[in-house]
């Protein structure tokens, strides 16, 4: 399977519905994978393949909501679309609050289904991209020495080299050398750029 091709994973205990919906999705041009229960899905889940989950709310064993909660905890959150025979308001609210992309009721119109799937896949792609970017930044940050990380924290808090040197018990010249090394390792041109990067990576400024 092409790793860039997103997969729509259908989780439903009703065999008849499962085959019908996967047939429709395939006809719509999507790659489809089917699972008879949440447990089976979790067992066979490949977190690296992009895609979304189309799950029934009511299933024996773990329900759709349980599945959603488990997915939210994973590194690689897969968006969930719920598709159910009958949804009550409390369940719908809970599902949406937990980040469900959509909440559809059976029988579902083709267009509505495809729109939801498209939205879910787009969200998944966007999130994957973002995560890749952050991972790259993180990799760069990992190249800094512990001393350089300390200096970064001081720099992003807006302190002058002299103040930093005093805080860290060294000379202004040494700090200057560290800053140059940091700029180079992180491939940033300005302090402003460094501050934005630090924010993205979640580095807290020194108070």
């Amino acid at each position: 399977m092409n790793s860039t091709q997103p997969i729509v994973r259908v989780v439903d205990d009703d065999a008849s519905f499962r085959s019908a919906i996967s047939r429709l999705l395939r006809a719509g041009g999507y790659a489809v994978q089917t699972f008879t229960s949440a447990a089976e899905f979790l067992e066979r889940l490949d977190p690296h393949t992009p895609g979304c989950v189309l799950a029934d709310l009511r299933m024996p064993g773990q329900s759709g909501l349980d599945l959603q909660a488990l997915l939210a905890k994973a590194d690689n959150p897969t968006p969930v679309i719920f598709l159910t025979g009958h949804g009550d308001i409390p369940t719908t609210v809970r599902a949406m609050r937990q980040g469900a992309v959509d909440f559809l009721t059976k029988p579902v119109q083709k267009q509505k289904l495809f729109d939801s799937v498209k939205r879910a896949l787009a969200r998944n792609a966007r999130e994957r991209e973002q995560r890749a970017h952050l991972r790259a930044l993180g990799d760069r940050l990992d190249t800094l020495t512990p001393r350089e990380r300390e200096v970064v924290a001081h720099v992003v808090s807006g302190k002058l080299n002299k103040q930093i040197a005093a805080d860290l018990g060294t000379t202004e010249r040494t700090i200057k050398a560290h800053r140059a090394g940091i700029m180079k390792k992180l491939a940033v041109q300005s302090v402003a750029e460094l501050v934005r990067l630090a924010q993205e990576l979640g580095i807290q400024p020194v108070p």
């Binding site: 009703d14 008849s16 519905f17 085959s19 019908a20 919906i21 047939r23 429709l24 395939r26 006809a27 719509g28 009511r58 299933m59 024996p60 329900s63 598709l83 159910t84 025979g85 009958h86 009550d88 009721t105 059976k106 029988p107 579902v108 119109q109 083709k110 289904l113």
Partner: protein, 975 residues
């Protein structure tokens, strides 16, 4: 020590209020003493002390007396302290804790106004009296309606001052009618003067005289006796011990009874009863009683006395009894004298007179002979007795023998000599009339009883000259009396051993005798029962009627029989049948009544039961709508009751003589005739004769539903058939209506079950619908391809058809449940039933995370029933089971549906949950309508389930599992 514990003697302290001899307390105390000594199982030692100070003052200068008592009773353990009268009671209440801690106290002889139960203190009780003050005045006004003044004799001690206030208060209503004169400020001497010169129309009320205004104490009733002699107006009192001492009478407080009652309570206390727990109602006045002598003295007619009154002290003297003989004799003497006079002065008529004289002498001797009457005269100075020849004969004296008093006395029976001599001397001293009885021993050794009555005559210096006398031979009477005594003794023996209760009364209606049976029954003393005492034991509700019957029968000298309730010794009232007959002497003289009683409590009870059942029967018969018909062997109606009009529209007379077939619809007539013929020939009944359902024909031609029972009876050669026909048309209609209502209710319940299942059903239906839509749209998309995959399209169409079928099934099940329908019994496979119910509840089970397990035995027999209704029961049980699991952790939410054979050939289905179970008292209640443990429950589900199961001939019940949760089971009959 142990020997000392068994009391050898009981010690009682009697504390008098004024002294040992002050009425009425002393009289009560004295009866108390006598009776207690008699009743007590061990000897009683009485100590007595008097609170003398009460005469002067109450509550002061008592210290020395307290010291005295302390010294008197030092080292003596008392068993009871009994103060008599209010002053003594009050004293004891003040010092008891100090003097006799722990000793029970019994207050006697006091009026209830003076002793309040709530003030008694611990371990104490009282037997009080209840003086009815205004009733005393009412009594005076009743017997002497002309009374204008009532002088009240009352002393001036503190106690009497209390009573002065009470009397004034209670006599208030009489002001205007009567003028009260209060004598409490007077000395006794002054009182005597006042009372000897009262205005006409006055009466005296002798209230109490303990200490007069001069400070002189008056003991006993001596003051009353003095006043009785000197006063010029009738005296009334309050206590029955004053009767005979000069009071007229009325409703009086029974002093002896008060003493006895006090003794009874005292004995109870010393036998271990807790004094504090004894409450004795105050003793009120008894039935009114009057002194005959006073009535005569003041000219009060007995007719003025209140009903039920008793008159006492009525003389039964020789004079009264033989008055007519004596008058007769004196008349003869007078006639004789006249005749003798005529003899002297009318010589001309001498012969005739002589003839008359001899005639009169004859008459006199005849009279004397009849009455054995003797006349005699004793010349006191000369000690010579002149007697008639009759008397000489009577005394066996010689015709000319000189008789002195000694000679006379000599002739008497030795036992009577001294009493007679004394009686003669007493007569000489006191003067006036005298009477006595004595026995004379005749020369032949025989003995005669003589009654003598006479008068002493005096000279001017009040020296006795003559003593005249009439003497009468009363031997026969005495013998009769003796015989009577003997027969009475015999009677008593018989009466006392008789197994019934026997009473006797005298001519005054008062009872004179009760046999042992009666005394044993009432447990009262003979003295308590005598007179009108027995009436106290009669139930209050029966008393008036009882007395009325007794008095009316008595006055008419008629026999009577009456039933009333009489208190038995144990306090229980028993029904008594009392039969009384008048007693007459052989000469017809009325003697009173004798009666016998038997305990008919059991009979009364049985009567009551019978009466109730009769009442029920009568109510039934009156409201019965059953037709009762009697016919002969030709089916001709001989009798039919009036209910036939209501049921068949015919009147009784229209039917008698007609054939019974007139009441049958056409098809039945022939069957009846055949069946009847067969039965008469062979004795074989075509049908059961007991409660058979039949159709009847109403006069209007309408068919009615009947339930008929028949029975045969033979009268000589005739064979009669009696039938009871009940119109059950209405009942059948009612049953149909009930069935319809049950069906309606079941329907409503199903609709509500549907409501509960709505979520599940929506899911159930949307599942195939969703699949159909998706498949259809997928097919559309596939068809857009240039070369559609036909295999795929065929698969899609097959799936669509399958899902459509699935949706249709769901809808069918829903419609079945929602439809209004009658019970349709068919052969049903239990497995399918369970499968379907599990399928319908599956979505619910999913949402609630309940694991539903089925355990169905293999090769189960099929059952007979209505599939939809049975499914409804199962669904209901399953949904209930799921509800009960709500509070449980998800992994424990199990519901087991089982089906198995039972020993008795039915199939048992059960739904077992592991929820919270059912409260023990709810195990049967859950099947009652409107019983629900669920907040939103209608409380009908299980009630309808039961109706359905029972309509199938099965049984449904609930059990709590030993390991938690509940199991609902029901059985179904196999097909």
């Amino acid at each position: 020590m142990s020997a000392a514990e068994a009391p050898q003697v009981r010690r009682v302290l009697i504390l008098h209020s004024f002294g040992r001899d002050f009425a009425p307390f002393s009289a009560v105390a004295s009866h108390f003493r006598t009776e207690l000594a008699r009743q007590s199982p061990v000897p009683v030692e009485f100590s007595e002390a008097s609170l003398e100070t009460a005469r002067v003052t109450e509550g002061e200068s008592e210290r020395p007396f307290v010291e005295y008592l302390r010294a008197l009773l030092a080292n003596r353990k008392l068993d009871l302290v009994a103060p008599f009268g209010a002053p003594a009671a009050h004293f004891m209440q003040r010092y008891r804790a100090r003097l006799f801690p722990g000793t029970p106290m019994l207050i006697g002889g006091a009026d209830q106004r003076r002793v309040r139960d709530e003030n008694l203190g611990a371990n104490s009780t009282s037997v009080t009296m209840r003086l009815e003050l205004s009733a005393i005045v009412e009594n005076i006004l009743r017997v002497l309606p002309g009374t204008k003044n009532i002088a009240v004799v009352l002393g001036n001690s503190p106690l009497e001052k209390f009573w002065l206030a009470e009397l004034r208060r209670e006599f208030q209503p009489f002001t205007g009618r009567v003028n009260f004169v209060w004598l409490n400020e007077l000395s006794f001497e002054e009182m005597r003067k006042r009372l000897a010169a009262l205005q006409p129309n006055s009466a005296i009320l002798y209230a109490a005289l303990v200490v007069d205004a001069a400070g002189v104490p008056h003991q006993q009733e001596r003051a009353l006796q003095v006043l009785h002699t000197e006063s010029n107006a009738p005296i009334f009192g309050a206590f029955d011990n004053q009767l005979g001492e000069g009071i007229v009478g009325g409703a009086l407080i029974p002093i002896q009874k008060a003493g006895f009652e006090t003794a009874r309570v005292a004995n109870g206390i010393m036998n271990g009863e807790s004094a504090g727990s004894i409450r004795t109602p105050p003793l009120g006045p008894g039935a009114p009683v009057y002194d005959w002598r006073e009535l005569k003295r003041w000219g009060i007619s007995e007719s003025r006395l209140p009903p039920g009154s008793t008159v006492r002290f009525k003389p039964q003297s020789v004079w009264e009894q033989y008055r007519w003989y004596i008058i007769g004799a004196l008349t003869i003497i007078l006639v004789q004298a006249v005749l003798i006079g005529g003899f002297v002065f009318q010589r001309a008529r001498r012969r005739q007179a002589q003839a008359e004289l001899s005639e009169s002498e004859e008459r006199m001797s005849l009279a004397a002979d009849v009455g054995r009457l003797g006349l005699w005269m004793w010349d006191v100075a000369r000690d010579e007795i002149w007697v008639t020849q009759e008397d000489r004969a009577l005394f066996s004296w010689g015709e000319s023998e000189a008789i002195s008093l000694d000679r006379f006395i000599e002739t008497l029976h030795p036992d009577d000599r001294e009493p007679t001599r004394e009686a003669v001397h007493r007569a000489l001293e006191s003067g006036g009339d005298y009477r006595f009885e004595y026995r004379v021993v005749l020369s032949d050794g025989s003995m005669r009883w003589i009654a003598a009555r006479g008068r002493v005559e005096y000279d001017a210096r009040r020296k006795p000259i003559h003593m005249r006398s009439v003497s009468l031979d009363i031997t026969d009477r005495k013998r009769a009396e003796e015989a009577l005594r003997e027969s009475e003794a015999r009677f008593r023996v018989v009466a006392n051993t008789a197994p019934v209760m026997i009473w006797m009364s005298g001519t005054d209606k008062l009872c004179t005798f009760f046999n042992k049976g009666w005394i044993d029954f009432t447990g009262r003393a003979m003295e308590q029962e005598l007179g009108n005492g027995w009436a106290e034991g009669v139930h209050r509700e029966d008393l008036d009627r009882c007395l009325e019957v007794y008095i009316n029968s008595f006055d008419a000298r008629q026999e009577f029989a009456m039933e009333y309730r009489l208190r038995r010794f144990d306090g229980e009232y028993c029904w008594i049948l009392d039969s009384g007959v008048p007693r007459f002497e052989s000469n017809g003289t009325f003697l009173g009544y004798i009666g016998s009683c038997i305990d008919i409590t059991e009979r009364k009870r049985a009567e009551e039961v019978l009466r109730q059942s009769e009442e029920r029967y009568r109510t039934l018969a009156e409201t019965a709508t059953d037709v009762i018909v009697t016919m002969d062997q030709n089916s001709t109606i001989l009798f039919v009751n009036s209910a036939v009009a209501r049921v068949f529209g015919y009147s009784s007379s229209e039917l008698v003589g007609r054939k019974i077939t007139a009441l049958m619809p056409e098809p039945l007539r022939q069957r009846h005739e055949e069946g009847m013929r067969r039965y008469l020939e062979t004795g074989v009944k075509l049908l059961s004769w007991d409660a058979v359902s039949f159709s009847g024909l109403h006069k209007s031609g309408r068919e009615i539903s009947l339930e008929i029972s028949f029975a045969e009876s033979r009268v000589g050669e005739r064979r009669l058939f009696t039938g009871i026909m009940r119109d059950v048309t209405e009942r059948l209609q009612a049953e149909l209506e009930a069935a319809r209502q049950r069906a309606e209710l079941a329907h409503i319940a199903r609709v509500s079950t549907m409501g509960e299942l709505a979520t599940s059903l929506a899911h159930e239906l949307n599942q195939p619908l969703g699949a159909i839509l998706s498949n259809a749209e997928a097919a559309e998309l596939f068809l857009e391809n240039d070369q559609p995959d036909l295999r795929e399209l065929r698969a899609i169409l097959a799936d669509i058809r399958k899902d459509d079928q699935r949706a249709a099934d769901v809808i069918r099940r829903m419609r079945a449940l929602l439809s209004r329908r009658e019970l349709e019994l068919k052969v049903v496979a239990v497995e399918e039933l369970i499968e379907e119910a599990v399928a319908m509840t599956k979505p619910d089970a999913l949402v609630r995370q309940v694991k539903v397990e089925t355990e169905v035995a293999s090769n189960l027999p099929r059952v007979r029933g209505d599939r939809v209704h049975l499914e409804q029961v199962l669904l209901n049980l399953m949904l209930n089971g799921m509800d009960s699991l709500n509070g449980c952790p998800a992994e424990q939410r199990r519901l087991v549906v089982r089906a198995d054979r039972t020993g008795d050939g039915t199939v048992e289905l059960s739904v077992r949950d592991c929820g919270h179970g059912i409260p023990a008292d709810g195990l049967t209640k859950v099947f009652e309508p409107f019983y629900s443990t669920k907040a939103k429950g209608m409380g009908m589900g299980l009630a309808i389930s039961r109706t359905i199961v029972e309509a199938h001939g099965g049984r449904i019940w609930a059990e709590n599992n030993p390991d938690g949760g509940a199991t609902f089971r029901f059985t179904l009959l196999t097909a």
